[in-house]
Symmetry: D3
Subunit: 208 residues, 6 copies
């Protein structure tokens, strides 16, 4: 029933908490997460651009701020569920897609529908912007898990989340960004005071 509805629904994403159901020292909502992803992506996009890549900034902007919009429908599904089986994961993606389609047809005025269909589709494709989105999304998983471990969260799920995101980043086809992350940022992460021994966990992943 209009763009007004779309803007109102952004408030819903401020109420959707990431990693629901787990004990956490700090909660993060999907709106704030999306902003952080936009920040990481801009930084690494700058690194890639400085090294000669051509970045479509409009596309990167669209991809990062919209990448979790579908969570207004089913929330941030608990991670263990997401990874339980490829089949379940696919079924959930399909549900989200159908809900998004219905939302756009119900709420978005006809003139803007093509734009919204385009912006709301899965953004993690093979383009450099798609890869930067993947990097930025995993980067926030690294930081969310890291700060929990730093405060002393003993839930093994956060170690798994940290390790999984780290491994994913290290294998991403974004040479310069990954090198900067590995050689500079990861050293700073390991140098931080932390109740849980993040340094050892990180070193173990690095030697793999």
């Amino acid at each position: 029933m209009g763009i007004h509805r779309f803007f109102m629904s952004m408030n819903d994403l401020e109420r959707i908490i990431r990693a629901p159901g787990r004990f956490k020292y700090e909660e993060h909502n999907v709106a704030a997460h999306s902003w952080k992803v936009a920040q990481y992506a801009m930084f690494f996009g700058t690194i890639e651009e400085n090294n000669g890549a051509v970045i479509n900034w409009k596309s990167l902007y669209e991809k990062t701020i919209n990448h979790d919009f579908a969570e207004i429908f089913i929330g941030d599904i608990k991670t263990p569920v997401k990874h339980a089986s490829p089949e379940l994961k696919q079924m959930l993606s399909h549900v989200e897609e159908k809900m998004m389609e219905k939302f756009i047809l119900d709420e978005i005025p006809e003139e803007f529908r093509p734009v919204f269909f385009d912006r709301m589709k899965e953004g993690k494709d093979e383009t450099i912007e798609g890869r930067l989105l993947e990097l930025a999304d995993k980067m926030d998983q690294v930081y969310e898990a890291f700060t929990e471990l730093q405060h002393g969260n003993t839930d093994p799920e956060f170690i798994k989340m940290y390790e999984t995101a780290l491994r994913k980043i290290l294998h991403l086809p974004l040479e310069k960004s990954v090198a900067y992350f590995k050689e500079i940022m990861l050293q700073d992460i390991m140098a931080e005071e932390s109740v849980i021994d993040v340094k050892s966990i990180t070193l173990k992943i690095l030697v793999e």
Copy 2:
């Protein structure tokens, strides 16, 4: 890896919030909701028993306290999604079932598995205990929606939630309980001070 894991997972249900993503004056977690459902069911079970029905109290006990356990996996899916399409709803139920099966096989010792498979299956069947569970679950939806409307929540979703649950209750095959609810309790609900006019909404449903 044991009953210990099962007991620890109950804490997860204290962190799962009902009706996620919507503005609410008060949040309710799934653990507290399950307790209230056990209370409503015991009251209406008593009414039915006083009127000659035979209640299997062990079954009612099992059904009420376990009926939302599967929400540890995908949380309390937002209501509009649940009702979006029968097909999506069914897909989500299927995902939950698969997750529960996996959980029981992974965590519950073999000697207790049959009991857990039995207790964790969908409880809203045609038995009188299944119907009492359905009544009790809808009753809590009535109360959750009512208190939001009472505080002045203008989100139309809560009116819809109140109306849907009310209609469902009024058509349940539990003659004495429904009569008691309609003739006594609903009068008290309508007599309460309320910022949103719950009385008119209720009367409209009653004349249908």
Copy 3:
């Protein structure tokens, strides 16, 4: 004035926080606690039944979900107070009883009063259901204290709470349940990662 009032008062128990006034990493309300007690009791009731005991499931159901209802009147009195002196403890119980009596006479319709007087009286008697309630209530104290210690809560009150509940459980006249708890579950608790050394605390109690 009626069952409606009783049902509305359940919402009050969702707002009463256990162990008030102490620093806690996680808060638990009395409603959620009551649900967990109903779960522990069902599990250990099953163990006892499997070993030949006769369980009155209706009674166990009633006892567990109602055992802390009187906290709507004076809340969850701080533990050090409860244990300060037997005389004070008795005075507080007396206050609660009087308030409950007044509540039933004021709010519960005459036809249901006998049932409510019966359900709301102290449930921890010598019957097997009374002992299962005591076990289940202490079990939740073990888990609440354990998770605080696990997160690193240095308040000595939580060590005391853990030790007191543990000792109480180990001496309960429920042979099979206590054996299962001691031989299986307690091993899993000691095997968990924990900021505070729960294993040593537990072993110290076990050798007593």
Copy 4:
């Protein structure tokens, strides 16, 4: 075991919430309440002093900041309980007194015990400082209830709390303060926008 323990226990009062168990738009802890009481008392003490009274400011200071310290033991007992019966109220006061005595003997070094026994005793006596404390304490009840009604809290308990405190204030033997409150401040309260009609409630009390 020392003044350190006493200072640490102040943190407990920041965790004790007033009017526990009731739905509230805003929570107030006992520490913040005590500060507000000290502020009201200083203002009305100034009015009395300007009109010729002699104020013992040290006594007023002591009375206001310590008047609810005993709540570290049994918290802020729910108001309906406090007023349930004079006998119950007296029993609870007795419990608090005994706990306070025990606390002082256990924690406060001998040299400071007389001072603490003096400061921690009931402060609402017949002195002008005792009456200013009573006025200030009721004033905060007026403001806490007023802001709830202003936001639209339909719980009749808050109307009762507002009315009771108002009546109490209007009959206090503090002529100048009460006149200032009634003729100036109460007019400003009635002039505020409010979801619940506080003006009518107030006028009804004034004509009594």
Copy 5:
């Protein structure tokens, strides 16, 4: 010391609450606000582009996600203060600028300093991207104030915030966007259920 520090500081913005010190039904943090601003800006940028304007999307992306970064230093200064006097406002801006300068010199590696100095400077300039940022920022003020009024917030500050932002938007030199907002979206806002009469407030502004 490095980009790691910059990324860690984003977490600080999740803890900075907008409109601090005022009663609010919902709190919004600066991180989530920044994301919503990026969303509004993208939508209105699309409208302008569809009507022939040339948008520098990289600049709009940079401006929106960074526009409140300086709030990590002094937080979201209370609005009445911000508008108290142009002189005070200017002094506060100067403080923020100095702090940001210091932060960049302390934390950002030399190679990235020029980029950060550029991105962190005041974004609301005369370019079309600067005007879109101003529109988007005010849009979020409209929505934050509107939802408070909708829930029944009687604090006159929120009416003032709504009116001020609305007036500002209606006079912005962004013809197509302002027309769309005024003719389409504002109608939808006025059509919403609301405890406080937003429609009248809006109409009063429109006839000015």
Copy 6:
């Protein structure tokens, strides 16, 4: 417009959180902090009085409960900002002063203005009451930082806050109070269980 406005604004201070933007295990509001400062000051004032000093208790009362009132205007500026440069600190003090002046002229009736101008001015002067205020304010900083370190807060800002406040206290010209703090209370602080090693940090400061 009147004392009513002043009393309503006290509620704002309950919503202003100290050390905003940093991760904290426990939040403290400015109202509760002011109460604790009034408590520390009374205790150390008693020590000084017992050792022959003459205390103006009215002045100490006024100073302690009003010392942070100006935070209703710009909140609790983040500590690193406060200490960034003497020049910035002075500018912020000036802003606060101007806001307070404006507030008194706008809200306080003429007859009370001199009293309010006097009470709201900077209280940390050279009088014994001014020095007791400084001691009490730093004491609360010690306790706030200590409890964070005790829970395991790895943010180096809290170590800095603890050290800075400790050093300040140890050099205050209040011989008896400082001796009592150093010889008695600090020993008890060091004897507490703590996740972060507060004892070493304290000893390091003591040998300076």
